[in-house]
Symmetry: C2
Subunit: 565 residues, 2 copies
Amino acid sequence: MPASQHQNPKSDIEISQAAVKRPILDVAKERLGIAAENLDPYGHYKAKVSMDYVKSLKDKKNGKLILVTAISPTPAGEGKTTTTVGLTDALNHIGKKAMLCLREPSLGPSFGMKGGAAGGGYAQVIPMEDINLHFTGDFHAITSAHNLLSALIDNHIYWGNALGIDSRRVAWRRVIDMNDRALREIVCSLGGVANGYPREAGFDITVASEVMAIFCLAKDLDDLKERLGNIIVAYTRDRKPIRAKDLNANGAMTALLKEAIAPNLVQTLEGTPAFIHGGPFANIAHGCNSVVATTTALKLADYVVTEAGFGADLGAEKFIDIKCRKAGIAPDCVVVVATIRALKMHGGVKKEDLKKEDLKALEAGMSNLKRHIENIQKFGLPAVVSINRFSADTDAEIALVKDKCKSLGVEALMADHWAMGGEGAADVAKAVVKVIDEKKGALQPLYPDDMPLFEKVRTIAKEIYRADDATADKSVKDQLKAWEDMGFGKLPVCIAKTQYSFSTNPDAKGAPTGFNIPVREVRLSAGAEFIVAICGEIMTMPGLPKVPSADSIDVNAEGKIVGLF
Amino acid sequence: MPASQHQNPKSDIEISQAAVKRPILDVAKERLGIAAENLDPYGHYKAKVSMDYVKSLKDKKNGKLILVTAISPTPAGEGKTTTTVGLTDALNHIGKKAMLCLREPSLGPSFGMKGGAAGGGYAQVIPMEDINLHFTGDFHAITSAHNLLSALIDNHIYWGNALGIDSRRVAWRRVIDMNDRALREIVCSLGGVANGYPREAGFDITVASEVMAIFCLAKDLDDLKERLGNIIVAYTRDRKPIRAKDLNANGAMTALLKEAIAPNLVQTLEGTPAFIHGGPFANIAHGCNSVVATTTALKLADYVVTEAGFGADLGAEKFIDIKCRKAGIAPDCVVVVATIRALKMHGGVKKEDLKKEDLKALEAGMSNLKRHIENIQKFGLPAVVSINRFSADTDAEIALVKDKCKSLGVEALMADHWAMGGEGAADVAKAVVKVIDEKKGALQPLYPDDMPLFEKVRTIAKEIYRADDATADKSVKDQLKAWEDMGFGKLPVCIAKTQYSFSTNPDAKGAPTGFNIPVREVRLSAGAEFIVAICGEIMTMPGLPKVPSADSIDVNAEGKIVGLF
């Protein structure tokens, strides 16, 4: 959320640095009952919860799970992370025992354009500069584990290639936690005999690594090791898959991830405990925090608030059809975040005109929110709409949104946690608790495990995106068929498409109809255990803008970091 | 040191894992008087000492500095790190207040061939698996800072190249903390307009980064930022240097290194406090731990033991002529480590025959030790020789070494800390204390700041290596002259050559004579502030062996790391 939202004179980092932080060991003890010996501190304000302690919680009753998702994103900004933080603070504010689970931010965007991912205003997790920079080193561990596998592949080829890897069919790239377009496509192993066999290769950003997806879906260290072993890294000349375990790589990769897999505990500005753990792409992966963190949080709090990436068509669908399916969990309530500004953009208003009242455009833009609400209801889940308040919102606009939601059987409430902290989202919190108490939820995944793979894609396209159909070339369908024959037919599918529209056209705002979803390519994530269906341009390595954030990030004379936002 | 040294049934990692570790906050408080609020814990057994606390020590008196170095290394192994740990434990054992400073190990070799760098047997720093894997994340921070600069360079060219960088003259490569020969030489920015301008590039291992050298030489965060800004990253078509500060990169790089610069505190198996901080290549950089750690340790203990990379010709020379010169410190005593096995190899014995007594070969091999001792004496420093005991050492062999050293005015003592811990090196500790009490040391750097650059190289070649001369093509000499004209004439030189011989021929063991030192190439490290003179093959990115350590590293059913050594 931009610092200009309320003309607040303080930036996010200034609010974060000015906060009176409580020692994390105290937060853990008083708020969650976790003793110091079950925590590995990282400085005084971050800690990892030991995996032995995580295991010891196994038989405890689960709390309620609240999923925060959003309308299709617009340049106006919706504030999903901010709502996740604010709502959890609000639940505590109204006397409930709540905690939240977020994804870890990537270093790449921190030095590029987007900025951090620790919430904003008075709804932040702290210390934001640590969280946005190296945090507890999880992403570095994932980067190392990924690149160790990459090095072992080329090393195997170099030393005689006993497994018969076809160097043209190496499917495993390298990763770096940096926006670096120069590394997207490279030729490696140049320079002669000592450096191996030249071949085309490239780097993705770390959040796009299958190791990241596995890290976030693994139940524990054993599961992690097994999944890492199943990664398909290359194919032989006759198309036989070579797995990480064929290279004996998964043991060493697991050693590199042994500490990282324990969930990271921090706090909000109001001292609410927060897990921030894992951060897979919401595109070619499922885009939500780790299963270990979420399932642990459910043992520790009565209400657990978490978010999924992008809009509900992508993030919530994957949360339900991939994460919940794998982890055996289910949301008790879904909160859909919107802003009146963003809804007006979906109704055709330009960014520069957003401050003017425009009921007609707002009503048109409500079509986007409406479709997302209907989709949540298709999953059998109750929804609450949370509208992040902006000073330009008029009473008439607010009334319009509330009425329209009411007609869909859903309550919409205004939230102002950005300026007020948890108190500002108390109405949303009360509505969420009410919905959960009514126990209306009974999760129905969209498709059964044994539906054929292309039918799964088609089901998502038709039911969630409202496309006429999903289309694909014969080669794509043949590939899916081949994977079914190899025993991968029961995997869920992970759709990679633009987040800006229900369709594959990012400019088609609102609730488009009369389109097809073309599947251009499919990929098998055999370790993460899903099939990726790529529908449109997918960028797995961002570039830096002309004037990147790095240009203004600095350490000032008092040794404080400035310019990070 | 190999686990087979004494037929000890326990491997290094088993000894480390079986150790009763004391909480690092207790070690810090009881042994160094550092309160918990001045430490940032990383788990219960590692901590960073806050830079504010470091600053507060400024006016305290310095303890005595002991430099551990060695004869020219052989495949027999000398045990320099083990001696550094054992000697410090021994100093505490005889009632002194001592601590040690080591370099951080690189992940690359941990998964390759060499194994870790935390000592061995009963002279180890713990927890060795943490220290050998991610530790406190310093190397990851250095990798990120380095690669951010790399990304900013290509991004600058991509967006119009306002500075006029000649893309053929980009001097800044990328780094990764991995042995990955496939990345040595690459072509990047392939794939069309969106990915930039294709050019030749490559990766070094992180320890070879100039950021690592700067990190280890910087006095504090301000000095770090200034040096980072001075890095020359590229040249324009008319050879004008472009610096990191021209890209506005040094602020963001400093933000990434803000936590890393604080020294890491751990303990030995005997509870002796140890700083492990920084780990620059001992080849194209100075090869010793950070100035911040060493100068802080000198404020905290009466005796500080530290080591320099490779043999004394390279490691000790750079320690004195680069690190001491820059940091204004001086060793009070130098300990030269040797083994009778290694000395016999210098005398021509093959590895398989090392267990047989061979006084003639030992006497011949003593020429190597003798020359190193003389070199230490040239620096005006007193030396003590510490011989790591092996079971095959005979009384006659031991007597020969002791007598020969005595004739050089130096005491040689047997040390068995590997099997016995500090007690095993008590004689060495007593000899070191005696030498320091006699105050014989008065450091004389080998050359003054204002000696011309090539004369500095020549002085090291003749005085330390005992070459007839240093030679170089006109182009090399012209380059040095050009740097002198640009104001870099006062920098020290850092010689990169084989560590296995005084000459540039790694097979010339013992004390070769009648050779020249050919300078093939010179490089300017304008941020680290030294000139690198490359004399021979320099590998800045290692490869993995046919069966790398990664093959056997694993996490066992109890969740313990195995196979790391």
